[in-house]
Symmetry: C2
Subunit: 582 residues, 2 copies
């Protein structure tokens, strides 16, 4: 059943024709020598597609049925995963967007995003290993001393060493300020004592070493979130000459028995059961949360891409089944309701892809530019990409089960695994409730909606671009949705000033509304591009893009208005409901 083939044509359409990476990024100093453009995109995507189809996708059912396990303070990962991770490393994929000064390829983030989508379609549990390693390396890149960078980055960028992020504790999840792990000064380093939970890929032997990034409290640290520091805690310490030395006092205690992503070891990690885990301060004391947050945008983009990737995987399996399965004398893909489900899967996946890749390009622009509007746009859209895409990931994987009928409920079919795997993404790396609160409370609140209104102006420009016979109906649907979005933005900005609780009560619905409208906008932009190409090309992707946009406007975008109604309603019933009656 594992026939995943990366949708290279659609990916390349988004990267080269919709985002125009050659034109928009090729001229930037960082990318000037790299030949960013269609040829490079094509080569990278094809190579990543090959690796994903041949090496990673066959592991999905293996990891699910032979999960990672823990015994005697060691994690045993699923068969074949170590070799595949090494092939990923050998292909240079850990360092695709990393700094060339430390062994990276220095390519635009959007290529890493596309590769990440493929890994997640092929096997979400597997994909977490490179995602976490890359995230840890980026944090050291951003906050490490020169000595720390040279000690760790090259080995992490090459994929020789892995990375992990150790944040959560029992009792300290969304509220990290109450954590108990402590770091005691000990010469030029610290000794850490405590226990961390939900540590993704917290231990394994697929790579020679693991560079754990651990949040802990210094003695006499201020209370709460301002008293947390970040430490580098390598699994194996340096032997004094750059080689692997002593085993550090950080060990896996157990792995969780989870609904999905069985191939990803989710560890309880104990620090300091013996002499204390040796840790090196990363960044300034008590600035640990701020350090984590600098890489949060990238990490949350990748979580959104998990929703996208798992949707594509689920869609491909469902559409293949629907072409083969005959009921009533015709393949079920011809049944109106099955077609509805498949198109609902497909067009939302296209919309998520266009949104995620577009903002990955904005991220590259923001990194290379002094224009604060670019970073503000990224900051605004990241919680939407994370929250909206992971909500859709669950919906789409669930539709994939439904398309299969009874077979979808049988585990061997593999459709149910997409649902079980997808279900984690709305929870981790900041629950979707946290994303929504961040979107409304911080991103909308901090500039009274200015970044949001600038986005709306861009959406209106696309409405204007649709002003022709072919695209007029798309333009009309988008115009109406954008007008409503402008209205909810105004409503929320007012609510933030008058009663933050009211604004927060509508936050989830705003995140979803913005996601649906942004998806429509990017599909409408895609249709504008495709409409021009149609006249010069026979490729079905161009009329296909317009057909997808029409379906999206007809069946998906209509949801945005119901979310808006919740916001306009003001949530008095929610706020006034006495919790003791629940």
């Amino acid at each position: 059943m594992e026939n995943y083939r990366a949708p290279v044509e659609d990916m390349q359409f988004v990267i080269d024709e919709l985002c125009e990476v050659g034109e928009r990024l090729g001229g930037l100093q960082r990318f000037a020598e790299l030949g960013v453009g269609p040829d490079l995109s094509g080569a990278l995507l094809e190579e990543s597609a090959r690796l994903s189809a041949e090496v990673i996708a066959p592991l999905r059912r293996v990891g699910d049925t032979q999960p990672a396990s823990c015994a005697e303070r060691k994690v045993q990962i699923s068969p074949g995963y170590a070799e595949a991770l090494q092939q990923l490393a050998a292909g240079g994929w850990y360092g695709i967007a990393a700094d060339p000064a430390h062994g990276g390829q220095g390519l635009p983030e959007v290529y890493g995003t596309a590769a990440c989508e493929m890994w997640n379609s092929a096997d979400m549990a597997f994909a977490l290993a490179p995602i976490l390693s890359i995230g840890a390396a980026m944090t050291i890149q951003a906050h490490g001393s020169e000595q720390q960078k040279s000690a760790y980055l090259e080995k992490m960028t090459s994929g020789e060493w892995a990375g992990s992020m150790c944040l959560t504790e029992s009792g300290a999840g969304s509220d990290l300020g109450v954590m108990k792990t402590r770091a005691v000064p000990d010469g030029d380093h610290y000794r850490l004592f405590g226990q961390k939970i939900y540590i993704t890929w917290g231990d394994h032997e697929a790579m020679d070493n693991i560079v754990h990034l651990v949040l802990a409290k210094l003695p006499d640290a201020p209370e709460g979130s301002r008293g947390i520091s970040l430490f580098i805690v390598p699994k194996y310490l340096d032997d004094g000459s750059g080689g692997l030395g002593e085993r550090n006092d950080i060990y896996p205690v157990s792995v969780e028995h989870k609904l999905g992503i069985h191939g990803s070891p989710t560890c309880v990690m104990a620090l300091g059961d013996d002499a204390g885990a040796v840790g090196y301060l990363l960044g300034e004391p008590n600035q640990g949360l701020a350090c984590m947050f600098t890489m949060m945008n990238e990490a949350r983009l990748k979580m959104g891409v998990q929703g996208l990737g798992v949707s594509e995987g689920a869609y491909q399996q469902a559409v293949a089944y629907a072409r083969e399965r005959v009921q009533g004398g015709v393949p079920i893909i011809e049944h109106a309701d099955v077609k509805r489900m498949l198109l609902t899967m497909r067009v939302q996946t296209e919309a998520m892809r266009a949104l995620a890749y577009t903002e990955a390009v904005t991220m590259d622009l923001a990194h290379q530019s002094a224009d604060p509007a670019l970073q503000a746009r990224v900051d605004l859209m990241i919680p939407v990409i994370k929250g909206w895409s992971t909500e859709l990931g669950v919906e789409i994987a669930s539709l994939g089960v439904q398309v299969h009928g009874g077979m979808g409920y049988v585990e061997e079919t593999g459709a149910a695994q997409y649902l079980r795997d997808a279900r984690i993404a709305p929870i981790y790396e900041g629950t979707n409730g946290i994303q929504a609160a961040d979107l409304v409370g911080r991103k909308l609140g901090r500039d009274q909606g200015a970044t949001m209104l600038a986005l709306i102006e861009e959406m209106k420009a696309t409405v204007t671009d649709c002003n022709n016979a072919e695209l007029a109906d798309i333009g009309t649907a988008l115009a109406s949705a954008v007008a409503t979005l402008a209205a909810t933005t105004t409503t929320l900005v007012e609510q933030l000033q008058e009663n933050r609780h009211t604004a927060q009560a509508g936050a989830y619905d705003f995140m979803m509304q913005l996601g649906y409208v942004a998806g429509a906008w990017h599909l409408a932009r895609s249709s504008v591009v495709a409409s021009a190409r149609c006249q010069q090309s026979e490729r079905s992707i161009y009329p296909g893009k317009i057909a997808s946009t029409r379906y999206y406007c007809e069946h998906i975008l209509v949801r945005a208005a119901s979310h808006a109604e919740v916001i306009f309603g003001g949530s008095a019933a929610l706020q006034n409901y006495p919790t003791e009656w629940m």
Copy 2:
């Protein structure tokens, strides 16, 4: 984690105060001697609640972690299930609504519905055993000869013997007409040969015998669905004196490894590997599908009640966790977004309950009356109860996972199981796509919307009842939703005449729209009742019912309009999308 307590107070509110079973059913001849009313309701609900909490709920995790298995043509069920099934039988629950002439208690269907909700909250996998047995007995009641009734019904009603329904074959699921199992005449009986799949509780040794109802084709039967007959195929044949004789040639081959409901053995059943399974024709030759359909309404109501039951179970666990779990110094139930999720779970569960119980009462009225409008109402609403409630069951169970954060994804917590279990209900007993097609194509089409418009008139009467200061906002919201429902009804009836494909393309959205509006209607009716009671009582259920209705109007009913938009849009984009581009 298994602390399920049946919501007896809400159930009794619905049964006695909203549905007024004493007034509406107590006077009917069938129920005249039974004392239908609050005292009886209270006693029955308390006893069922006790059984569900003490006997069934503790099995939920057992069945999940120690699934049913099959070896040597026998199914071994999960530990404790057989004893619990026997307790259910001893309590008389198999026969609660069955004909007293064959050992039943002859009580109104709504009591069986409430008990069924409890079984499903406690353990969906377990609940399937009595549901299927009762369904099989009802089919024999409706179509059996007097001899068949006396041979089987008393033992099935007492729970001494179980029942099963053997319909699906590989390649013949939603399209039963192409099935291959054949029945060869052999004296006064038949010999059956074939293989059936997805047979729920197809084999076990919890009861002395299993009465399988099997669809098969007679020699020279017409093609397709008009050539299917129904047979009684007992696991053990009669020994000639009413005792258990020879083992019949129907055996389990394997049980499926499923996403959820692990405690329910889903069997592949082989008939006729040896001399042929002895079967007795039930009903007329070639009328097997029609026979099945007469009990389909009851079975589909129960499937909707599965969505309801699993929602209540998931809600109870989530709300208990949210009261205990502290983040940021307060229990998370006080966080706006967590409260939003919990209320979304709660009020939809209340709405599903009011809808399902109300139509269970209509079913009783229809059985005891010659008014065809009653049966037409039941026929109209059954696909909505099945489809809408099982879609919500998945949503609500998924929200239950989300409320738990990371813990929700860990299997031991038990929240994820509700999601895995709930996911089957939109698939079996007619997929929700089939329900939607039935609702629009048959139920709306056969009387050009007349039954639907009568329902809308009743909804409008409730709008009028809300015409007072306290309920005016509820009335306004309901009025608007009902007006839109009238408009989509008209649109679909027109589409059915002009282009059935267009109507079918909107069928799913109509099913969901009608479900949301019907839910609002029943909650509004509940609020009208509660509002009057508030003046005489301090019980929080009365203001609670109004608060739930307000939340429903604010956060849930808004979804109905987006489904309506799909119908008004006409689905041209769906229909015109070439499947080869997918």
